[in-house]
Subunit: 146 residues, 2 copies
């Protein structure tokens, strides 16, 4: 994986390539998201982001996350207790493993699902277009503290 500084730079380039201006508030949001390995709500991005750019507005956080999501750089995370949180995305399709306590996210690949998808598709008559596979649990650090 890219290190965090490289990831920030790449994201900013990509914003530029998509015709967006590089502004201080956007840089702050990009740095927060690109440097985080935990799920963050817009309000949390706002709080952390103001450490980097004090005048940052919550509205801009929403607008920037929206753009980053459309560009596939961050993805929305769905959790049992609420679904408005974001995490840096990764290339290609990956599944998520989320710590219920601290929000830390890891990715795992390995689609063992193809056979199951074929079977469910045949049984149900549905045309399956997308799937979610997410695991929830406790990361190593939170196991020790709970």
């Amino acid at each position: 994986m890219l290190n965090q500084q490289e990831r920030s730079r790449t994201w900013l380039q990509e914003l530029k390539h998509n015709g967006y201006r590089l502004t201080s508030p956007r840089k702050a949001v990009v740095e927060v998201m690109a440097n985080s390995d935990t799920v963050l709500s817009p309000a949390e991005v706002y709080d952390i982001g103001r450490g980097r750019y004090a005048k940052l507005g919550l509205v801009t956080v929403y607008r920037t996350l929206e753009k980053l999501e459309a560009m596939g750089l961050v993805q929305r995370v769905h959790r049992p207790d609420g679904c408005e949180a974001f995490i840096a995305g990764v290339e290609g399709h990956q599944h998520l493993l989320i710590c219920e306590n601290c929000g830390r996210v890891e990715y795992f690949g390995g689609d063992k699902l193809d056979g199951l998808i074929d079977k469910v598709q045949g049984d149900s008559g549905y045309e399956i277009r997308d799937h979610w596979l997410q695991f929830f649990g406790l990361c190593r650090a939170c196991q020790r503290n709970n």
Copy 2:
């Protein structure tokens, strides 16, 4: 599966066994949920439910869904575009197959995931406590109309 009338009756009994009173608004909500095979938001339950009990209030819909969820009779459904919808639950752990167009839901079982869970647990050090597997697509009827 129980037919819909039986399911309503069972749910009402279960409410009673849990110490809750059987009221007209609750009956309306139970009938809506027990008779539906599509995902419904609280507002939709409210709209449909008023057809059965005109004085039904939205607040009571929320309160009743909360109880039904706690009793395991309905479950919350998470979708890419929003996560506050409910569907009648089924016994035991099942996975969902959701029509992106009309919200119809089917259930499928067959946990082929045990091996994968063990592997991810070992690789990551996480203690995996729960998982979601959901498929999204088009049901037979919506394939014809799209």
